[in-house]
């Protein structure tokens, strides 16, 4: 979709996801690692459970569809090479501490003099400005400062983060959005720009609008365990079944009417008695404001009676037949059995010749009537494309490359 464009990816794990998405869309993404390799290669899990910078599944997962070179940005020769590459690039993505790129002479102002169309996307924990701009963050710090943790967990328990780590992927997606909006403007105006991504802000916005909305309109949401707060009510999101859980949610209004009718019919078919208090609810007119928590609990109790009779697989199968919006709470093993993903050709095999393996990846981003949007090839090995880029593209002699290697530049 975006072939013909080039991105130089200088990020650590905070920004891997951004380059991965651009790569899957067809951009020529060149991952630039420090000589010896990016520290993100030491993040587990590992292929065959063997810690090895060439076997990190974390690295594989978020760096597919990129080429890779090594380059020391601290060395003047390295900086010169980067400037040469920047002239050929449309995007630079980086996640260094605020001010680092300027310090090594490769900040937006400096690069835009060489290439006025360049779009530099900087990903930092708290943004390029402000009193916290030099503060550090990992996933849990962002989950905390975003307000998300205070809303997740048992009412009297410890606030809990989302698992697995989410923030770096959210941030990577936002970075692509920001870069592509800047690109759209660049096509119109011929001008590049600097895109300042604050991970903190991305995570505040990962929960839509809850902060200003609750601030202006109330109520302030609290932790509600595995229930969803809805005004004065709380409704369960999961129900226990024979071998785990399924998810089904009570919705009022048009959004839920049909589903509520169908699941009611299902429970009637099962001979599950309807308590008097909830008999004869007209689902078309059903509103949260008209119902008490006790009545919600009675409805949910009835649904739990239904779910407790079957396994999650049986429930999902029946739900699909009956058009009820209920799904199994899958683990990764169940995910591979999902017929929908198979039907859509979601999975893709990627060759890893050095491991003598073909590995199944989450591949498709979305379907389109034009070229594909999916994982194209495996993540690069350390310095794998040095020859391609330095010798074949930039025309460095073999001797020059060897010398640069000896000097620790590449």
């Amino acid at each position: 979709m975006l072939s013909g464009y080039r991105a130089l990816d200088l990020t650590d794990e905070k920004g891997f996801f951004c380059g991965k998405i651009l790569g899957e869309l067809g951009v020529d993404v060149i991952k630039i690692e420090r000589p010896g390799g990016d520290p993100g290669r030491n993040i587990g899990p590992f292929y065959g459970n063997t810690p090895d910078p060439e076997k990190s599944l974390y690295w594989f997962a978020y760096n597919d569809s990129k080429r890779g070179i090594t380059l020391n940005l601290e060395a003047p020769e390295g900086q010169e090479i980067f400037r040469t590459l920047a002239k050929t690039a449309h995007f630079v993505i980086e996640s260094f501490p605020v001010g680092y790129m300027d310090k090594v002479g490769l900040g937006y102002e400096q690069l835009s003099k060489l290439n006025p169309k360049i779009i530099v996307t900087s990903i930092t924990p708290f943004g390029q400005t402000g009193p916290w701009k030099h503060y550090k963050a990992t996933d849990i710090i962002l989950m905390a400062t975003s307000g998300l943790m205070m809303l997740t967990g048992e009412p009297d328990g410890v606030p809990t983060r989302y698992e697995p780590d989410h923030s770096y992927c959210f941030v990577g997606s936002d970075a692509v959005v920001g870069a592509l909006i800047a690109h759209y403007y660049c096509v119109r105006s011929g001008e590049g720009q600097h895109v300042d991504i604050s991970m903190h802000e991305c995570m505040v916005r990962a929960n839509y609008n809850y902060a200003p909305m609750s601030y202006n309109f109330g109520p302030i949401p609290k932790r509600t365990g595995s229930k969803l707060p809805r005004g004065h009510l709380q409704t369960p999101v999961i129900h226990k079944c024979k071998d785990g859980y399924v998810s089904w949610l009570l919705f009022a209004g048009i959004a839920g009417a049909e589903d509520n009718r169908r699941i009611t019919k299902w429970m009637d078919d099962e001979g599950i008695p309807t308590p008097g208090e909830i008999k004869g609810i007209d689902w078309d007119k059903f509103k949260y404001s008209d119902i008490t928590q006790k009545e919600v609990d009675l409805i949910e109790e009835r649904i739990s009676t239904l779910t407790s009779r079957y396994t999650k697989g049986q429930l999902e199968e029946q739900a699909l037949k009956r058009g009820v919006r209920m799904n199994a709470v899958n683990d990764v093993k169940d995910l591979f059995k999902n017929e929908q993903l198979k039907f859509r050709n979601f999975w893709g095999n990627i060759e890893h010749p050095e491991l003598s393996a073909s590995i199944t990846y989450p591949s498709q981003l979305y379907q389109t009537t034009e070229t594909q949007a999916r994982a194209r090839f495996r993540a690069p090995q350390i310095g794998e494309h040095n020859k391609q880029i330095y010798e074949e593209e930039l025309g460095f002699s073999k001797q020059k490359v060897e010398k640069l290697q000896q000097l620790g530049v590449i």
Binding site: Y135, G153, V158, E163, V177, V204, M213, G253
Partner: protein, 406 residues
């Protein structure tokens, strides 16, 4: 049209409901595209009828959810289930560069407004349909919510402490927030492709597929090592201590995450190098990880004497990642970083009054977003039908009488 906005000149027709679709359209509108949201008076967007309302009083222009998902857009009310309504819808497609939809799979086709029909109106139209599981396939008809995507993709199963029930993410579901970002990504990529090739396209975006990419390391671990990732609560394989620590006050917490020996030494210094920090069981990462229950108890004994803001400040100044578990008031009133960078600002709405809004989470140095408040239902009927589609005032009156514009 503000030409300095990055997406100025882009024309988007949005026929979406609920959260995911409108949230995607919001990006386009806030960054300068002309976005016409097609609603219907007889069947308004569900968020117009969702709590919370201004002063608790229901009304299509009184709902807060709609306010936050539809900023900077124009609203028209067109009943496109009627033949004349369909005609007008198609005229708008002729005007648009992009059509955004998230109705239940098949619903627009049934009305004769699917991609094949719209393509006859405009050959190079870019149309995107967003759904839970995709437009076709065994699960397509079921539709659903973000929480169901979480269940299917394996995320719910991991959102818990070992041996406990899965937790609901407060307030909303991550897939609902992920899909809008991919709506923008797919659409902007398609626009660039069209500019270079002349070809439009139909994009079938599901919530579940991008979400599975978020979970990729665990998926590859299963594929290659047959390991099923176990839930860990607030713990991390890569850090100890790592969690939310109790602070002074009611339900006050600060997160701390220590991933290196250097950070550990700094943390010990911040808390005054008490004797226990010198115990051999805390001497290296592996051992700290092994004894993390005890370690976190001890760290918590220190944090509980201070406010979370104090803990965050002293830790961060010493180079230890730490962050206040902020609540809504903190984000809007106290967080100095938010204030300095202006993530929240106020907009006046004719019915709802002055309300805080967030800007998008990235700052474009030359072309920042300009957010306008959300439209009243049908606020732009006159402008859109007369100025954009060129109908006369009489024709407009007639359409209103016939309830085509409702």
């Amino acid at each position: 049209m503000n030409d300095k906005l990055p997406l100025a000149g882009l024309k988007v027709l949005e026929s979406t409901v609920a959260a995911t679709g409108p949230a995607g359209g919001k990006y386009f509108a806030d960054f300068g595209a002309t976005v016409i949201k097609v609603e219907s008076g007889t069947r308004p967007d569900v968020t117009r009828l969702a709590m919370p309302y201004k002063d608790g009083k229901p009304g299509v222009d009184r709902g807060a959810s709609f306010l936050y998902l539809n900023t900077s857009k124009m609203s028209i009310t067109l009943n496109f289930t009627k033949p004349r309504g369909k005609e007008l819808y198609k005229k708008l497609v002729g005007w648009a560069d992009v059509v955004l939809q998230n109705r239940r799979p098949g619903a627009m086709q049934k009305l004769g407004l699917g991609y094949d029909e719209l393509r006859k109106v405009k050959e190079d139209i870019i149309m995107i349909d967003v759904s839970i599981s995709g437009q076709e396939g065994p699960y397509a008809d079921a539709g659903g919510w973000g929480q169901l995507t979480m269940a299917m993709c394996g995320q719910f199963n991991l959102m818990r402490w070992p041996g406990q029930d899965p937790l609901a993410p407060g307030f909303t579901a991550p897939p609902d927030a992920v899909a809008p970002r991919f709506m923008v990504i797919a659409t902007l990529a398609a626009l660039d492709y069209k500019r270079r090739t002349g070809k439009g396209q139909y994009i079938d975006l599901s919530q579940i597929e991008p979400m599975c990419h978020f979970l990729a390391p665990g998926i590859l671990d299963y594929v290659t090592n047959k390991r099923i990732q176990a839930p860990v609560g607030n713990r991390s394989e890569r850090a100890a201590p790592h969690g939310a620590f109790p602070c002074k006050g009611d339900d006050k917490w600060c997160a701390i995450s220590v991933s290196s020996d250097e950070e550990w030494v700094s943390l010990c210094k911040v808390i005054g190098n008490p004797e226990w920090t010198k115990r051999p069981i805390f001497a290296n990462f592996e051992s700290r990880k092994k004894y993390e229950d005890e370690l976190e108890q001890l760290v918590g004994n220190w944090t509980k004497n201070y406010s979370p803001w104090e803990v965050m400040a002293v830790m961060q100044e010493a180079g230890v990642p730490a962050g206040v578990l902020e609540n809504v008031d903190d984000l809007i009133e106290r967080d100095p970083q938010m204030k300095e960078r202006g993530l929240f600002f106020q907009l006046e709405h004719p019915v709802l009054g002055k309300c805080y809004h967030p800007r998008e989470p990235f700052i474009l140095s030359k072309t920042p977003a300009k957010v306008g408040t959300s439209p009243l239902q049908g606020q732009h009927n006159k402008y859109v039908f007369t100025e954009i589609l060129g109908l006369t005032g009489e024709e407009l009156t007639k359409l209103i009488e016939e309830k085509i514009i409702d």
